[in-house]
Point group: C2
Chain length 283, copies 2
């Protein structure tokens, strides 16, 4: 495993932050307040990539002076569009217990709520453990060619995705694909040693399941995203520049909304995070 730094030297030898760290940069602005701004590297069609918004909200808690422990759960509700430019995050501890802490968050632009979120943090300790779910079989990432996804969006360039299954709709347009399962090897591009914010972002890197199921584009967007963190900081840091295996599938599409359940696995088979979302679609 090579050592991966959060900074990289540009052509002039200047150290520039990794685009992910640049996107997550927050400036404290009073009690429970932080100022941030969107960055071009994680731009989606008409707003920032949802994963970067989730990561930035988590980051506000991670750098809050009252933070206790590490992330256990994060729920992000995409309430309205986020425009290019500055935003304010309010991150408020709702309740602090001996080993757990609950957070309420809002992202606002010009006083208007664009995103709400909640987070649970906890001090984790060693216990009996068991990985009941088993990582899907896959050839190692070095043997799988990279692909940039099939949508013309900027944020896809921020990820090295190596598709294993369900990379693009393979059914004829207008017909129904037998399943909505997508799996790929994933890491940041350029490579970056992962932390909790990276995992929060990874969980939203799947294109909408309905594109695969229906073999084509329809208007769609995540309305609520929940991620559970199963790995501690040391486990994530030890991943270095290795790829993780990302897998996602829907269970039901009905009356304008479908669900998605995702898993993020280490190459060694540890389940690092599980994540669920409900997604609006129009058809």
């Amino acid at each position: 495993m090579s050592s991966v730094s959060a900074v990289s030297a540009d052509a002039a030898g200047t150290l520039a932050p990794h685009p992910f760290d640049d996107a997550l940069a927050l400036e404290p602005a009073g009690p429970d307040r932080f100022l941030g701004r969107t960055t071009p590297a994680y731009w989606n069609m008409i707003g920032p990539f949802g994963g970067i918004t989730a990561a930035t909200l988590l980051q506000a808690v991670l750098q809050h002076p009252q933070r206790l422990g590490d992330p256990i759960a994060l729920t992000v509700n995409f309430a309205g569009p986020i425009a290019e430019g500055p935003f304010e995050i309010e991150a408020r501890p709702s309740r602090t217990n001996r080993s757990t802490q609950h957070w309420s968050l809002e992202l606002r632009q010009q006083g208007v709520v664009a995103t709400t979120a909640s987070a649970v943090f906890a001090v984790r300790r060693e216990t009996w453990g068991c990985g009941e779910a088993v990582r899907p079989e896959a050839p190692p990432p070095e043997q799988v060619p990279a692909a940039g996804g099939f949508a013309p969006v900027r944020w896809l360039k921020a990820y090295d995705m190596r598709p294993l299954r369900g990379a693009k709709p393979s059914a004829e347009a207008g017909t129904e694909h037998p399943d909505s399962l997508t799996q790929f090897w994933l890491r940041d591009a350029p490579a970056r040693t992962p932390d909790f914010a990276a995992v929060a972002s990874w969980c939203d890197t799947f294109y909408p399941r309905i594109f695969l199921k229906r073999a084509g584009f329809v208007p769609a967007g995540t309305v609520s995203l929940t991620t559970y963190f199963h790995a501690d900081a040391a486990t994530l840091a030890a991943l270095g520049d290795s790829h993780v295996l990302a897998s996602a599938r829907a269970q039901v599409f009905r009356q304008g909304y479908f669900d998605q359940s995702a898993q993020i696995w280490s190459a060694a088979g540890e389940l690092l995070a599980t994540s669920h979302q409900i997604v609006y679609y129009k058809e």
Copy 2:
């Protein structure tokens, strides 16, 4: 299908509300505020059954005068204990769009936050739809004997549970059960025609997966619960007094927390709700 009323006649012929409706009774107490109280029928070991808390928070939105549409997503964070007695719920619309509405909620006792929650509501419309997941095979509920669960808690009497699999740990105490899968036919007891609040409650009727996996009791409690609603009000009302098939399983147990993913199916095979939670355990 027999007609099921929300009221039942007691021995004296007086009409009493169903215990579930009684538990959900909320009194408006100013803008965005409601007063409620715990009821003995849904008492757990040291506080109310988490499902009734989730249902009551949803109910606050359902009866809020500014409510738009029906529930799509509900996340409940169990931040601290709820004591027997009165509580206050603040249900605040964070953002209202043309067809979706985002809510922020807090349940407090004597000014102290016990539970936080968020909800997404939406006006649903008919679209192309598909149930990709398939209901597990099971004998019809009439052929499955009822069981009250294996824990001495009061709220279990509020449900008619007919176990299909994983009702109790079958492995020898201290050994590891091969899986954490539990499935049962479920309805309220006495029977009650379901609504969104009932579904919110049903999603938390599974005992902690670690009891099954480890074949014994350990301290455990849900810290965050997210439910996605896939059925509209008419679909739920049409269920009448039929049972639903409830299924739940964990993917990973690590460092004091495990996840659970659950499905609630109609007898006819419709996926009514999917639900996920992260649960604390001590061992």
